[in-house]
Symmetry: D3
Subunit: 139 residues, 6 copies
């Protein structure tokens, strides 16, 4: 079994804000991340697929196809967008990096099976900044 990874990126605005709380509590818990006029990041996204290489190609998955899939299904929805306002799959959810990573898993897991006979999704790694990042393995 080999683990194959592809990195993509997107730029987005967000704020951390729980609508069930008062503005004061949001500022107390989230600090500057709750700024009502938003802030933003250059997000780096690393998708890892695991499997055995296809003996005819030497590939677990064609990284050009994986890149195309991630761009069509994930980056298109997130790049130059507001994670709280513009993204259908984030509606009603906290716009934290943790939750974004879990939603990306739900989108990509079935679709990767449709472009590769040999690989399956292993992990979603999402950098909010070079110093803050999360990783999700599907459970």
């Amino acid at each position: 079994m080999i683990y194959v990874s592809r990195q993509e990126h997107f730029n987005a605005a967000h704020k951390l804000y729980n609508p069930a709380w008062s503005k004061e509590k949001n500022v107390e818990v989230f600090g500057p991340c709750a700024n009502e006029n938003w802030h933003g990041h250059n997000f780096d996204l690393i998708i890892t697929v695991k499997g055995n290489p296809d003996p005819e190609t030497g590939f677990v998955i064609d990284l050009k196809k994986l890149s195309k899939l991630i761009r069509a299904e994930v980056i298109e929805a997130l790049d130059h967008k507001n994670l709280n306002l513009d993204v259908p799959f984030m509606k009603g959810k906290m716009a934290s990096t943790e939750i974004v990573a879990q939603e990306i898993w739900k989108i990509l897991e079935p679709r990767i099976l449709s472009i590769s006979k040999f690989g399956e999704l292993h992990s979603v790694k999402l950098y909010e900044t070079p110093r803050n990042y999360v990783e999700y393995f599907g459970e």
Copy 2:
């Protein structure tokens, strides 16, 4: 003469939008950067000071003092903010990286003279993404 540099960073939201134009023209010119709900970046800021080293310290400028100055006068105003809405020195200006860099020059140039007898501001370099950046030398 030695050139001494200090890198700081901030996260902010912005959009590229000329209020004298229609929404259609803004989208035509700025593309996804005109998204009305904003997008954002992790900005990296590099301030370079030039001068001869103080023979007593070996320093052109104390980088701890320079870092403190940049944080107090620039980062505090920009980090976790909206460049179009929240930043006094950007009011009425296009929120492009070029203009932000020029405004940072105006703020820091006189203040650097007040913390160093040996150095003067040489350049402001501002990365909007790892692939897009600007540099300004004051004229």
Copy 3:
């Protein structure tokens, strides 16, 4: 379960030297790392916490609190210090990156439980240089 990481850094001096051995044997085994007048590094430290996100915040752990904890309990003790001479928790131990990572685990593991109901320490990753690093998972 999500894995959340925070990167911090410190600069320190050290040497690799086993006091039970002769100077000759130390030089033979450790080479230039045994230089009696020390050498040093910019260390990068990545702390990973695992858990389920708190439904109210979307966080496994508040990364601002995690950063503050790491700085107070670990960086404060190591930054601009000599790992062999100045650091209480390294007294009597080899100042190798492996041992420093294990000691950082011992310090942070209980304290992370005290700042997060949802997360527990997963790993300590310590870069001595961009090309040499270690990772410890607590056992």
Copy 4:
């Protein structure tokens, strides 16, 4: 148990080309990677060894020895070479990053046991570009 890693690098040419297929099918499957006149990369290779630290040195493995081993047994054979034409252990195999990583495992696994009583090979991570990489754990 501690995981200790060392990064090395090499520059090489290759193409993705299955000799059992027509030129047309190769271009269809591999796209520009099948360019008959080759293309190339700066590869980064990270070797991770796991084990308990030797109490006398604080080392799982001496990273100077590990670096020397990787250079002698792997980098020497790959650096400034053509992966399809010049490398004995790649003869008759697809020159994909996946296959190169598996072959590196086969070379290093027994030899690491010969330079360390405390460590064994844990993984081979190979970056073809900063955005495309694979990792192999030996099974």
Copy 5:
């Protein structure tokens, strides 16, 4: 005047080989870079344009247009290619990074004037590896 930069990349094979010399002299001068079966690199290319910002857009040059121009005129000709064999503008020239950078200047300088009223080409910076790079300012 502001300096605005855009980074692009390409992967290519090449060798350093002067056809006026014997094979022995090529190996003596260029060492492993003269390997007759080629080697290759991930090249990073940074194009810097200088000028005053357009008051209507805040831009010296639209970086989306600059990126599109670099990709169409330069990357398309170099990516996944052999610099000695496949690239029309390198025919009959030494495939050194220095010469590639000078040829890129010749291609881009007039074309940048055609996409920007405010900017002109300032420099071409080309990384062959993260440790080896060249910069050309047009004269």
Copy 6:
């Protein structure tokens, strides 16, 4: 004229300490950098040479020769050393990054002329940390 650069690195210990001052004044001016037991860094050194390419090789300077020169004349003296105690050319000088860069200039400038007919030293850039660096152009 082309500018050609080569990056090398070294790890060293140092402290900032003016022996003409009291310990108290050193701590007041240099803060934790004055720690009497030293601290250290992974230094990155970039040497830039300028000139016209040799028409026979396409090189301003052979980067393998430049690398060998930097290692023999500079890195050998600094790597795994104490900048205040172990380095002959730093004796009696403040061990600040500014001064180290100026001393490296003095060593390399004449020697580069001896290995290249086409190039001369343009600048010495020295990173003390990824966020703090200096550059010196010889005057």
